[in-house]
Amino acid sequence: MQQGLGELDELYQEVLLDHYRNPRNTDRLDDPTSEVDAINPFCGDEIHMQLGLDGDKVASISVTGQGCSISQAAGSLLTEIVDGKTTTEARALRELFREMMTGEEVSDEVADRLEDSLALQGVRRFPVRIKCALLSWSALIDALDKVAPAKP
């Protein structure tokens, strides 16, 4: 059976395209608490993340970068969901996101918690692109580790 490019619709969902076209939270922070560059050595995708923590809360976040639509949209989506969360909640979201990328169907509860980032679910069917979606999430963990190491 011949397939056209229709199968791609599952990957390139409207929410993702929207974030790629108009990435959110790209203004640089004046005085970030933590800052990291993440790079995917296989493809050269780059994410630059800045975090502003207020106590244990993410009070501001900025993501910029260069790379494919998946990596850049995932970064933009991440900023929306992480903003205002505690560092512990942010770490937990990363785990949920990673499970969505590598595991089975997500439950309704997990789907709710991942908010618009759920739109990246389709990436699962394109295994080589999973690392694109995960790049900004590992940047987040690196940025957190620098200033607010995971609580035991």
Binding site: M1, Q2, Q3, G4, L5, E7, L8, L11, Y12, L17, Y20, R21, F42, C43, G44, D45, E46, Q66, G67, C68, S69, I70, F126, V128, R129, C132
Partner: protein
């Protein structure tokens, strides 16, 4: 005038079982040959024959199987020697791949001959495998790495080369053909410049030996590195050619079985060439299969291989001109350009293009092609690359062009292209 081609591509294709494979419901269009080539039945069968009929260790047995294996292994070395017109079989060292061959020179010859204040000259078009070993050497030794730049039209700047190669230069390390730009470098001119100042020249021939006639003596190079897997052979085996006078006095770098002459508890002496550089049980099966790959290419004739690739690449260059939003990297004329077309898109990342083409059964390479400095010097972070070989056809170029147009339509409807 387009070159006459003597390859019977239909019968060549029949030798490559993988080319009948379906990918995502379409016949595979394999255009990632610069990464690795496909393998003909003759090569696959030589592996099977070895394991089924005469598998045994080499150089150490008196029994029939060991004798047969040793003969086939050394026979393959001789085939490679003749293929690149090396002066002797002893000048052919089996390695794992191009990268190991380059590292071997960096850790042996260069370790012994490069000192603080010396200069190493390489080019702006190198694969990471031919940059990083020299960076590391320069750091270890306090030497300086000099880079011959690329001209505006994707060639190597030979005027700059003449200025950069000086009596401080100890080694010139250059690609023979860029895996990104397809540029064929005038290695002979660089060899002459290097020799004039008493330096040696090492050629990364990973992309040339598979695609064109290469004669190490005519090029007058001191070292040459290439990988079997890009020339119809198996993975896990590569070649380092070294000028015999240089190899004779070059210190070994890996120690163990096969590379020794005599061992006491206190000391050891080294075996003859080339075994001095082949410690341990070698990759016997893959060396033999490399011989089969050389046989296959020689039967076609490397002039014909080059002519065929010129024809396909010329055709592809013409068809690429139809595409909008696509920017070709490297020379746009076919002269001294190999069968490699790298391109970026005005708004699409190469991964998005690559995923779309894969849906259509088309395999291209995407990303930085292990040449990050080169890709960045073009103001981009990634590129897509189509690369051709003996079994590719103009019809496959058409499939690629149609695929790119379809991807362009898809992404522009999605609002991102």
């Amino acid at each position: 005038m387009s070159p006459v081609t003597h390859l019977d591509v239909e019968s060549i294709r029949a030798d490559f079982p993988i080319l009948t494979r379906q990918v995502n419901g379409r016949l595979l269009t394999y255009l990632d040959n610069a990464a690795t080539s496909q393998k003909p039945t003759q090569v696959i069968q030589s592996l099977v024959d070895y394991y089924e009929r005469y598998n045994s260790n080499v150089h150490r047995g008196v029994h029939t199987l060991s004798i047969e294996a040793t003969e086939a292994y050394e026979d393959a070395r001789g085939k490679v020697q003749r293929f690149i017109n090396a002066p002797s079989p002893e000048s052919i060292i089996w390695t794992r791949n191009t990268s190991e061959s380059l590292n071997l020179v960096a850790y042996t010859w260069a370790e012994a001959n490069v000192a603080a204040g010396d200069e190493i000259v390489t080019t702006a078009m190198e694969h990471h495998s031919d940059i990083v070993p020299w960076q590391q050497l320069a750091m270890r030794k306090g030497a300086t790495l000099k880079i011959i730049p690329e001209t505006e039209n994707g060639r190597l700047d030979m005027e700059q080369a003449a200025l950069l190669i000086t009596d401080r230069t100890k080694i010139v390390a250059t690609t023979h053909m860029s895996n990104v730009l397809g540029t064929v470098v005038d290695v002979k001119a660089l060899a002459d410049a290097a020799h004039a100042v008493g330096a040696v020249i090492l050629v990364d021939a990973a992309q040339s030996v598979p695609h064109m006639p290469v004669d190490v003596q005519a090029l007058n190079c001191d070292f040459m590195a290439f990988s079997a897997h890009k020339m119809l052979g198996p993975t896990g085996i590569g070649v380092l050619y070294g000028r015999p006078e240089i190899l004779e006095v070059m210190p070994p770098w890996m120690f163990g079985g096969d590379m020794i002459l005599e061992v006491s508890y206190e000391d050891a002496s080294w075996n003859d060439l080339p075994y001095r550089f082949e410690a341990g049980t070698p990759n016997i099966a893959d060396a033999i299969a490399t011989g089969a790959a050389v046989d296959y290419l020689e039967a076609l004739g490397m002039d014909n291989v080059w002519a065929h690739e010129q024809k396909i690449t010329g055709y592809a260059l013409g068809r690429f001109a139809e595409l909008e939003g696509i920017n070709l990297l490297g020379p746009q004329e076919i002269e001294d350009k190999g069968a490699v077309l790298s391109f970026s898109h005005d708004s699409l990342h190469s991964h998005d293009l690559g995923t779309a083409l894969d849906q259509l059964g088309i395999a291209i390479r995407t990303g930085h092609h292990c040449a990050m400095p080169l890709i960045r010097s073009h103001g981009i972070v990634s590129a897509a690359r189509a690369s051709f070989y003996i079994y590719n056809t103009e019809a496959e170029v058409d499939v690629l062009i149609d695929g790119l147009k379809e991807a362009q339509r898809y992404f522009s409807k999605a609002g991102i292209a």
